[in-house]
Every structure is written in structure tokens, then in C-alpha cells.
């Protein structure tokens, strides 16, 4: 239980770093182009493609954050030995429902494919956000493997507020 809470908190901190630091750096013919995760999200923000901006933002930033936050909210009080939080049950149900829609790990594979495509075109530099995001994916996967849903549900039921 403590381990899951710690991993979720780590992932949240990493996500903040990943969003704001430069992600990748491309240089060709004396021109340098830096882009952060936010730029990747805003890539579709022209004309008809605008809805895709919201979708991509949701899939790679908003939903993973929401999922981690609700896991933290549901489990942190119990890890400290208190009763479960007031809406902890609803929060954990939300986290479970969001599971297929949080696509951070798919994004990192997409980044790898894009790197191969660009590699011939220009020199690439990898920014700090790339490594934090990779670490974030690793931590999220660890979190999902350690977390046993049935145990969490049982504990939530046992520690309910009287």
C-alpha cells in the first residue's frame, strides 16, 4: 500500500517536470528548434485539427495526472493508517475507469518512432523532459503491476468511516 502511494506521488512529480522542461531539440543548418511536451500537444491547434489537440492533451497529460491523483487520494490516507478518504471509493473507481485511456506509455513508443524518422533529417538533442517522461512511464507501469485491485477494494471496504 505504501509502495503504491509512493510510486504514484513520484509519477506526479515527474509529470510536472516532463511538461515544462524542453523535451527534444532539433538542429539543422544552424537553426535550432526546441520543443516541450506542450508543443507536441499544440501541434494540432490549427483549423479542423483543433479537437485533436484536446484529445492528445487529455490522453498524455490530463488523464494520467487525474488517474495518479485519484489513486493518491484514495490510498494515501489508508497508507498512513487512517480511515479512507470521504470519496475515496469514487476516486478509486474513477482511477480504474481511466486505466485504458491514460496513454503515456504509448506516447513514449511514438516518440521513439518519430526519432527514427527524423534522425536522417537533422541532428537531435534529447532534453531533460524526455528522460523524466521515460522514468514516469516506468514508474506508472511498476505502479500498475504492484497494485492488486481486489486487495485495494477489500481494504477500502474494511477501513470505511463508521
Amino acid at each position: 500500500m505504501t509502495r503504491i502511494v509512493m510510486l504514484a506521488a513520484t509519477a506526479l512529480v515527474l509529470m510536472v517536470a516532463a511538461v515544462f522542461f524542453p523535451f527534444l531539440e532539433l538542429s539543422a543548418g544552424g537553426m535550432v528548434r526546441q520543443s516541450s511536451l506542450l508543443d507536441a500537444v499544440l501541434a494540432f491547434s490549427s483549423g479542423l485539427l483543433l479537437p485533436l489537440t484536446f484529445a492528445v492533451a487529455a490522453l498524455i497529460i490530463v488523464l494520467p495526472v487525474l488517474r495518479l491523483a485519484s489513486i493518491l487520494y484514495a490510498l494515501a490516507p489508508m497508507a498512513l493508517g487512517w480511515h479512507s478518504a470521504r470519496h475515496g471509493v469514487a476516486a478509486f473507481r474513477l482511477a480504474e475507469a481511466l486505466r485504458p485511456w491514460a496513454m503515456a506509455e504509448i506516447f513514449i513508443v511514438g516518440v521513439a518512432v518519430a526519432l527514427v524518422k527524423v534522425a536522417g533529417l537533422a541532428r537531435l538533442g534529447i532534453g531533460p523532459a524526455f528522460w523524466t517522461f521515460a522514468a514516469l512511464v516506468l514508474v506508472t507501469v511498476l505502479n500498475d503491476t504492484y497494485m492488486c485491485r481486489l486487495t485495494v477494494w477489500k481494504t477500502l471496504e474494511e477501513r470505511r468511516r463508521p
Binding site: 527534444l24 532539433l26 539543422a28 543548418g29 537553426m31 528548434r33 520543443s35 508543443d39 507536441a40 500537444v41 499544440l42 501541434a43 494540432f44 490549427s46 479542423l48 485539427l49 479537437p51 485533436l52 484529445a55 492528445v56 490522453l59 498524455i60 471509493v89 469514487a90 478509486f92 473507481r93 480504474e96 485504458p100 485511456w101 496513454m103 504509448i106 506516447f107 513508443v109 511514438g110 516518440v111 518512432v113 518519430a114 527514427v116 524518422k117 527524423v118 536522417g120 533529417l121 537533422a122 485491485r149 481486489l150 477494494w153 477500502l156 471496504e157
Partner: protein, 220 residues
């Protein structure tokens, strides 16, 4: 489940026959007729109402938007004034010409094989479950049901990985903005492709796997 394996065709008692209903969200078992799960608060259904209707609706929506996703360009590359348009297949073929076969294979699998395979698999499952008496008539062994269940689990797990191509386009068009030398812009196919992925994910989510096991009573 193990009992099904050991003595094939033997009737197992289902939760429904026992007058029980399991929560699809947390797994707690309740007597039939309880409206809400006492543990997690989710609505309880012995079988999801209208499950197959929703599956068909989302599946057809997914197939319809998959067509423009393949016809219209996914990437617009402008290099020294000349614009080239790349469709999904075109992108994979171009990667192959560059000699990066592995990556071309990933793109091909993620954006062609997985979506098409998913259409077929979900359609097959929905058909078999729906016309249980007719198509499922050939069903003689419990293993067939296990195979269907495994197929469903694979489809549910693998569906989200199709989004790779959309993310590739997003990163490329954010990164490659070098004014004159080269610019990459996303094409309209990116929207319909991501819609197609989302719709088929919804189709898989609205499929109730308990329907698979209802065919067990037809076992001879």
C-alpha cells in the same frame, strides 16, 4: 474455470442461476436485484443492458471513420517549397525505403494490422454471441469458449496501442518546424484515425464478456 477444463461439457453453476450478480467494477457478489454495489457504488447488472447494440454501433462508427483515415494524408511534409503528402500506408512504405524495417513494421502493425484485426475480432465475437443458437451450434468443447474469452482479452489490451501513429504525427509536426528547410504539418487523417481508435476502444469496453459464457448451456 478449471472445472470446465477437467470435465468437458459438464454443467457449471453460473452466478445467474444461483440468483447472484457480480459487480463488474470491483468483483463483489450480491443477491440478484440489488441495484447498486455496496462496496464501490457501481450500478449492478447481471448482463450489461444493450451491450451488443452498443458494440455494433461503436464498431460501425469505427469502421466508417477508418476509411477517410486511410484515404486522406496523415502528414504534409514541406521541404524547400515542395509539399509531399503521406497517407498512413505511405508513411510505412517510406520508412521501409529508408531501410528502417523494424520501425516500418511497428507502424504497419499499429496502424493497419491492429485496427483491422480488431474490427474482425469484435465483429466475430458479437456475431457468435448474438446468434448463439445458429453460429455457435458447431461449438462442442469448453475450450472454444476459453479461446473466445482470450480473444476478447487480447482485443481489449491491444486496442490502445494503435494511437502510436497519431502521437508520431504530433511529435513530428511539433519538432520539424525549420522554416524553409523542412516543415511537417499534420493532415486531416490524424483526426479520423484517432476517432476510429477511440470508437473501437469503446466497442471493446461495452462488450460484456459474460455473454461469451452464456453459450455454455448450448454445449452438447
Amino acid at each position: 474455470m478449471t472445472s470446465l477444463h477437467s470435465n468437458d461439457g459438464a454443467q457449471t453453476l453460473t452466478a445467474r442461476q444461483a440468483g447472484l450478480v457480480g459487480c463488474h467494477s470491483c468483483g463483489r457478489v450480491h443477491p440478484m436485484g440489488t441495484p447498486r454495489c455496496s462496496r464501490c457504488g457501481a450500478a449492478l447488472h447481471s448482463r450489461m443492458p444493450g451491450s451488443l447494440q452498443k458494440v455494433w454501433a461503436w464498431l460501425f462508427a469505427g469502421i466508417v471513420v477508418y476509411v477517410p483515415a486511410n484515404i486522406y494524408p496523415m502528414l504534409l511534409t514541406t521541404s524547400f517549397g515542395a509539399t509531399t503528402e503521406n497517407t498512413i500506408m505511405g508513411g510505412a512504405v517510406e520508412l521501409m525505403h529508408h531501410g528502417s524495417y523494424g520501425v516500418a513494421l511497428i507502424v504497419f502493425v499499429a496502424s493497419v494490422l491492429i485496427p483491422v484485426g480488431k474490427f474482425l475480432a469484435i465483429g466475430y465475437l458479437a456475431l457468435v454471441v448474438d446468434h448463439g443458437s445458429r453460429l455457435g451450434g458447431r461449438l462442442r468443447r469448453g475450450q472454444d469458449l476459453h479461446r473466445r474469452q482470450r480473444l476478447f482479452e487480447v482485443v481489449e489490451f491491444i486496442g490502445r496501442w494503435s494511437m502510436i501513429d497519431v502521437f508520431v504525427v504530433a511529435i513530428l509536426s511539433a519538432l520539424v518546424q525549420l522554416d524553409f528547410a523542412a516543415t511537417i504539418n499534420p493532415g486531416i487523417a490524424a483526426v479520423s484515425f484517432s476517432l476510429s481508435v477511440a470508437f473501437t476502444m469503446l466497442a471493446a469496453l461495452s462488450f460484456d464478456p459474460r455473454l461469451i459464457w452464456d453459450a455454455e448451456q448450448d454445449l452438447t
